[in-house]
């Protein structure tokens, strides 16, 4: 019984990060109809900023660990939003709804950003202390408070995104351009501005995942890229452009990884994910919650 509770806890821990990461990717695809291979670079930038600002804030400014983490998180969001605004203004706004163009642009951008991160931070893994390092036991499942906080924050952020999309004018505009961009423009919606908003929200979600993971995993200059392939698997299974699909897909892949890794091994679990993607592409290419068109 304890093993199954632990596997459930593992699923939630793994799945919650995947959900946050995949939500941004699917939102950008839904609004801009582009595939952003540089999405992982936003995650990486945020995590790297946390590893720079936190030690500085504690050692030089004398802040407590939670305060320095908060300051680092603010700095990380600011940096990622700046990078997002720059790459949108000088690149992505010219390839809206252009899959080939966005593919080439985002791959090039990824290489450039990775090179910049490597030049600034070097190749060694970086880490910061956990703000909540204690281990807790929930019905036999052991996890750190930091991981539990990550799960709770991921749920709150996902709920917030849902409310933003369903209950606000910006959300309405995002849904409108996602459904039919030309019809939305005919209604007077500024498509590029809405696309920029969607792009920045997507980047902020990746930044959120990066900020939450920085105290948990070691950060390297390619940390985000390692999540990218999983995020593509998730949004293919969940449904390209579907917010609910990203949530379902993220938790599903988290479960495959958790259960498969335990009963077989992580390599088999990874293989199973790729087999699942092939199966979905053959049987239900629109994914679990995607639209058939």
């Amino acid at each position: 019984m304890e093993v199954f509770v632990q596997l459930l806890a593992n699923t939630l821990q793994i799945g919650s990060v995947y959900v946050l990461f995949a939500l941004g990717l699917t939102l950008i695809f839904g609004v801009m109809k582009i595939v952003n291979f540089a999405h992982g670079a936003f995650f990486t930038a945020a995590a790297l900023v946390v590893t720079s600002v936190m030690p500085f804030a504690t050692a030089t400014l004398g802040l407590s660990l939670p305060a320095s983490y908060l300051l680092a998180a603010i700095a990380a969001f600011a940096v990622v939003l700046c990078i997002g605004a720059v790459v949108f203004s000088f690149g992505f706004q010219y390839v809206l709804k252009d899959l080939n163009g966005s593919f080439i642009l985002s791959i090039g951008l990824l290489l450039v950003l990775n090179g910049i991160y490597l030049a600034i931070y070097g190749g060694a893994p970086r880490s910061v202390p956990q703000v909540l390092p204690d281990t807790i036991n929930i019905f036999g499942a052991r996890l750190t408070e930091q991981r539990l906080a990550l799960v709770i924050i991921a749920i709150v952020v996902t709920g917030g995104l849902y409310l933003l999309i369903e209950r606000t004018r910006l959300g309405l505009a995002l849904r409108a351009v996602a459904q039919d961009q030309e019809a939305a423009m005919l209604q007077g919606m500024p498509y590029r501005r809405v696309a920029l908003s969607g792009f920045l929200i997507g980047a902020a979600l990746a930044a959120c995942a990066g900020v939450l993971m920085a105290p948990i995993n070691a950060v390297t200059t390619v940390s985000g890229d390692e999540f990218l392939i999983k995020a593509f698997i998730i949004i293919i299974i969940g449904g390209l452009g579907s917010v609910a699909g990203a949530i379902v897909g993220g938790l599903f892949i988290g479960m495959v990884e958790s259960v498969g890794g335990y009963f077989f091994d992580p390599s088999t679990a990874t293989l199973a994910m790729f087999i699942l993607v092939i199966a979905f592409l053959l049987v239900r290419p629109q994914g679990i919650l995607g639209n058939a068109d």
Binding site: I14, G260, P266
Partner: protein, 408 residues
């Protein structure tokens, strides 16, 4: 007035004396250029990604060796003097990139000597070209498949599991005579696959039963599932095989959360800094088979100097992998001197018999009995343990061939 006269004389055709002077100057310049040829030494290693620290360190160590030799006037062979120049390529730890790096290095840069290549898969890809084109390939690949009489241009510049595992596991078993069970975790690539059967066999010969041998993909981000499995099996030992320090650190951290506290063994453990950066206190007491304390009392003067320089230049201390390019350049220098030539075919024939000063001390090549060709650099096997976040050397064993070489 003088300027004008100079200008006017400049318009005249040069006389025979001037022509002779120019010719003499040209010959002198040409001789000067010929006297200082450049010998390019290649490196194919991961310069990005999780293993970037290995590639960057290896490039830096090779540059130090090249700078030392250049500062002493370069390398003389066949009446020429060669200044060494390091050219490094990112192989991203993959066969595809390894092949691409090899193509560029050999075809465009005309490299005839590779003084460092990391990863069995990229090395195999590179070897297909280097052996065919007669290019010397020093590498750190752990796979046995890259060695043998069919690969006479290939030389291994660091200890591999075939040198490390037996003395390493035996020492760990002596420290923990009660251990009876183990779990092996290996990266699912050429290195891991070649190491796994040897690791299982060696543990078995020491009376340790392997409860499970599991695989994971490089680039895995979440290690809770495998940690949960290990904790539920509750082995006395977890052997992380060829897993890099970052991945081991992540698993150790999760095992710590789950309350497992057994003997931690890293055959490919190279960098304590990288391990503790990820695992923190969970890395305490871990045994490493490929690390060394290059600041400690048993380190040589060269190792201390290089280590201090590396910390300053790349922010990372050196380890068994990264320092190996320094040793490869030193071995190459000795072989070129012995062959009195930079022809790779002659250098290849000289390498198995040369004696040179590695960063560890006197060294040479051996391993003919095991691999069928003397292409393994002879170096001490050093076992270290993490104590208070630092590597502490516990024991140092010289292979029999190295011992014989030292006693000559």
């Amino acid at each position: 007035m003088h300027g004008r006269s100079h200008s006017q004389s400049g318009m005249r055709r040069p006389g025979p004396v001037r022509l002779l002077g120019l010719a003499a100057l040209s010959i002198l310049l040409a001789q000067g250029a010929a006297a200082q040829e450049t010998l390019k030494l290649g490196i194919s290693a991961p310069m990005s990604g999780a293993a970037a620290t290995w590639g960057l360190g290896m490039e830096w160590a090779a540059e130090q060796a090249a700078e030392r030799i250049n500062a002493e006037g370069g390398l003389s062979a066949g009446g020429e003097t060669y200044m060494l120049d390091i050219v490094a390529y990112d192989n991203k730890y993959s066969a595809t990139e390894g092949a691409r790096a090899a193509q560029t290095m050999l075809s465009r840069d005309g490299v005839k000597f590779v003084v460092g290549a990391i990863g069995t898969a990229p090395v195999r890809a590179m070897q297909a070209l280097t052996e065919r084109q007669g290019v010397i390939l020093f590498n750190t690949a752990w796979g046995k498949s890259v060695k043998g009489p069919d690969f006479p241009y290939t030389f291994t510049q660091m200890n591999t599991p075939f040198e490390i595992l037996e003395p390493f596991y035996t020492f760990v078993k002596e420290q923990h005579p009660d251990v009876k069970t183990a779990v092996l975790i290996s990266p699912n690539d050429a290195t891991g696959q070649e190491l796994e059967p040897l690791a299982i066999e060696t543990w078995k010969s020491l009376g340790v039963e392997m409860l499970a041998s599991d695989w994971y993909e490089r680039g895995t981000t979440e290690f809770q599932p495998i940690a949960t499995k290990i904790a539920s099996l509750d082995p006395d030992v977890v052997d992380f095989s060829a897993a890099p320090p970052g991945d081991v650190g992540a698993i150790l951290k999760e095992l710590d959360v789950l309350g497992w506290d057994g003997v931690k063994v890293m055959s490919a453990g190279t960098s304590v800094d990288a391990l503790t950066a990820v695992a923190g206190e969970a890395a305490e007491d871990a045994y490493l088979g490929a690390s060394a304390d290059f600041d400690g009392p048993t380190a040589t003067e060269v190792q201390r100097e290089l280590n201090a320089g590396a910390r300053e230049a790349i922010g990372e201390p050196l380890n068994g992998i990264t320092i190996s390019s320094y040793d490869a350049v030193m071995a190459l220098q000795a072989a070129i001197k012995a062959a009195d030539s930079v022809d790779p075919a002659k250098v290849k024939d000289a390498l198995p018999t040369v004696r040179f000063e590695s960063s560890y001390g006197p060294s040479g090549f051996g391993g003919e009995a095991l691999y069928g060709y003397p292409q393994q650099m002879l170096l001490p096997v050093i076992v270290t343990q993490v104590k208070d976040g630092k590597p502490v050397e516990l024991t140092r064993t010289n292979p029999a061939e190295l011992e014989a070489l030292l006693n000559k």
